[in-house]
Amino acid sequence: MQGTIASAIGVIHIAAAIALLNGAFTTFGQAKIAAQAIESIARQPEAAEDIRGAMFVGLAMAETSGIYGLLIAIIMLFANPLVEVLVNLIS
């Protein structure tokens, strides 16, 4: 019985880690945005202010998916409704 709960919690932790893997792709997208912005600033230094503003907004938009992954991981670890169901089911 305890072994079942322990393995379920282990699976939950692995699932949270997988949910956090989207950070790699998020970072890749953000790196692309930043690289393009730096290239544009180097080409047109007088437009640096506008480009910087657009870059920050784009970075925030790209970050959203990473934040969603983080939230899913946090919910799975700390506020998982399935754990309670499982414990009730077993006991």
Binding site: G53, F56, V57, L59, A60, E63, T64, I67, Y68, L70, L71, I74, F78
Partner: protein
């Protein structure tokens, strides 16, 4: 290692339980600090000089630069709502920066960020109806009436994504610092966390505040012009 929001008191108002959580209490602390700063500013600037000097110079610099920022991203005709966003800016920034002193940031609770984002959403609807009237309603049915559910979901997703972005960033900083304080021995808890606080509270807090305000302004501009 406690990541939950503590519940400090439970008030009983006419049969309804009101929970005074840590978030609400910290919000009051920050409100008190901001109100005191505002009153000091008001008293000190009682006799306003034409040529600014000293304290007045600093206040004018802050207010003017925010006004310029707002009217640049909103356009001149909509810039009359910039005082509300100055308040949001001051609140979110000070809540992020005060967590350096161990106060749990109120923005690390989804209730606070959703309240702020929902206020942006209501303001967006209001500005849309005020400035574009029927055209704004028509934009929900824009290419064809069959797109109405899609447009509605797109509008409703705005406050959700706006609030989760700020919440996630603030909560991740809180979690990392709590983990650091909970897992390390006592003799490394002096000095080194200052760097972590500097990054997760000061820099990330400032960037996320800027992003929250500029994306709110962008939504309103897209709707109202």
């Amino acid at each position: 290692m406690i990541l939950n929001v503590d519940n400090l008191w439970v008030l009983n108002l006419a049969g309804v339980e009101v929970w005074i959580t840590e978030t609400i209490f910290n919000t009051w602390v920050i409100m008190l600090i901001l109100i005191v700063i505002a009153i000091i500013t008001r008293v000190k600037l009682r006799n306003f000089k034409v040529v600014p000097k000293g304290f007045q110079n600093v206040i004018e610099l802050i207010v003017e630069s925010f006004d310029n920022f707002a009217s640049n991203s909103l356009g001149e005709s909509l810039s009359y709502i910039s005082p509300w966003f100055f308040m949001v800016f001051a609140f979110v920034l000070s809540s992020a920066w005060l967590s350096v002193f161990g106060i749990r940031a109120p923005t690390a609770d989804w209730a606070t960020t959703f309240a702020l984002a929902f206020a942006t959403f209501l303001l967006m609807l209001f500005m849309g109806f005020r400035h574009r009237k029927g055209e704004y309603l028509k934009s929900f049915f824009s290419p064809h009436p069959i797109f109405f559910p899609l447009n509605l979901v797109g509008e409703l997703a705005k406050p959700i994504s706006l609030s989760f972005r700020l919440f996630g960033n603030m909560l991740s900083g809180t979690i990392i610092l709590t983990l650091y304080y909970g897992l390390t021995p006592l003799f490394v808890q002096f000095g080194i966390p200052a760097l972590l606080h500097a990054f997760f509270d000061i820099i990330v807090g400032a960037i996320q505040t800027y992003i929250f305000v500029i994306i709110s302004l962008m939504y309103i501009r897209n709707v109202a012009s």
